[in-house]
Amino acid sequence: MVNQILFVVLPYLSAAIFLVGVLYRFILWMKAPVPLRIVTTPAPKTRRGVAWRMAGDVLWFPSLIKADMPLWAAGWTFHMLLWMVLLRHLRYFLYPVPGWVEGIQTAGLYAGYLIPIPLAALLIRRLATERNLYISILGDYFSLFLLLGISVSGFLLGVFFRTYIVDVKALALGLVHFNPVQVEVHWLFALHFLLVLVLLIYFPFSKLMHAGGLFLSPTRNQRANFEKRFVNPWDDDYPVSYNPENIFPPEKYSEMLKKPKSEDKS
């Protein structure tokens, strides 16, 4: 019964919440128009340039390098290791396993062993500096502890409590092909698996959505093609009108211009 819930019901439920939630958030974001072309300069003038800028922001975090080096070191290391770990885990969901996934297996394993280090650094940094402690909220700690829990349990699974990998793969493939199978696994694996599901459920409701938000950020994804007219879609809702208290409305200016030059010294 517990097995049924943990390995069948919950995975599908959390995957659904994750997908629907992320989609919903994206739709809410995209529905709102961008009224002003206020990109952070210096900004690229072309779409290709924007693509490069985005790629840089995703892969290299250039603004953090300038803003906060220690944060960059921890944050960048964490995100890159995370990529490695995620890609390595593809081997459980794909059959046959593609060559390149095989190729990064060893690197991915080590990435997984190392990933708690930058996470711990991020946590310590949050607690150790006054400013970061001040701005931190419950969700920040929750995300960090969740990720720490996942990575430490993963590390233990890989090094000390080796779970029977054939069963794990059967489980994952069964889920992917909508043909879930029942397997007996180590309790630590069950924990690792459960925490990942919690992460999936938590993701769309949390700041973890920054992963998607970055791509829509108007200060980063716009072009600096200021020479082209940019029209605010709701600009017409704000017609320009002068009230009687405004003593220099446009009509008065037209009158002034009509008068001969010498008279208009008023």
Binding site: K31, A32, D68, G75, R131, M209, S217, Y238, S266
Partner: protein, 297 residues
């Protein structure tokens, strides 16, 4: 070599007492805002906030995507100068974020405590008024942020929301009102503008013995020059510079008494006024039938 300013220790409430002088009724009328704080200010503000969220992708996106990394925290000059933690850009945005969470997110509605939500009450409003008017909208924080989160846009949203309920500062509303009365931020009347231009013409003739014109309101000129109004008031060397340059280039130009101001304080108030102030440039250009506008600030 970058030499960063020393980062001050947090001094809670260090600049809480520094409140901008509230707007005067006469100016509020001139900028088409409620004369005074609305009795149902909270409802008005929440309604405006819903509208602002629907109209600006950046606002919702930035409220929801901040990871509280703190990269922007020590980048704001108002924080560096005061040490007041609410002047850290992320904490400034949090003032709006908390209200947003409370009224516009499910988590904040049902379990505010764990979801960083707070009521829009008098204390919160006072914090908004204080700290959203201690932001110069310089956008330095957005350069530091890994996602380009622009606290200036959050500040603009908050001021727009407050303005809708009749809450604004004297400084900003007075300046905008002056633009509608005189065509510039400083309140220089058309006659004074012309006088100043004639004076400069005479002055150049007397001191440098050259005939250079400072045209005003000349219909059909090629270029409309919209300087910062201070250029014809205190920084007159700049004004002389423009005139000499146009003279040397042989280009016909003019200033306008209807619009002789490139700075737009509507930006610090709300969209309606931002547009109306900018519209004066267009209007002047149309009425003077110029081909181009040169516009500085």
């Amino acid at each position: 070599m970058r030499t960063p300013l020393p980062i001050p220790p947090l001094k809670t409430g260090a600049s809480a007492h520094q409140k901008s002088y509230p707007a005067k009724t006469k100016d509020m009328i001139k900028v088409d805002l409620p004369k005074e704080r609305a009795k149902d200010w909270k409802e008005v503000m929440l309604k405006k906030m819903a509208e602002v969220l629907d109209r600006n992708r950046s606002v919702r996106l930035y409220l929801e995507s901040c990871v509280k990394c703190g990269a922007c925290a020590d980048k704001c000059q108002f924080f560096l100068g005061t040490g007041d933690p609410k002047n850290m850009p992320v904490a400034r945005a949090d003032l709006l974020r908390k209200v947003y969470n409370r009224y516009f997110t499910l988590g904040g509605k049902i379990w505010g405590k764990v979801n960083e939500a707070a009521d829009l009450d008098e204390a919160m409003l006072q914090d908004w008024y204080t700290y959203f008017y201690q932001c110069s909208e310089c956008r330095r924080c957005s350069v530091a942020c890994p996602f380009g989160i622009d606290t200036a846009e959050i500040t603009m949203a908050a001021r727009e929301i407050m303005a809708a309920a009749g809450i604004a500062t004297k400084y900003v509303t007075e300046v905008v009102a002056k633009v509608y009365d005189t065509g510039n931020n400083l309140g220089i009347w058309p006659a004074a503008w012309k006088d100043s231009c004639e004076f400069l013409e005479q002055d150049l003739k007397d001191t440098e013995n050259i005939d250079i014109r400072f045209p005003v309101d000349e219909v059909g000129a090629e270029i409309l020059l919209v300087p910062p109004s201070a250029d014809n008031f205190v920084n007159i060397d700049t004004m002389i510079g423009y005139a000499k340059m146009f003279h040397a280039a042989g280009i016909s130009w003019t200033t306008s008494t209807y619009c002789n101001e490139g700075g737009n304080f509507g930006m610090f108030l709300d969209y309606g006024n931002l547009k109306k102030v900018n519209n004066r440039i267009l209007e002047a250009a149309r009425q003077l039938k110029v081909k181009k506008v040169y516009w500085g600030e």
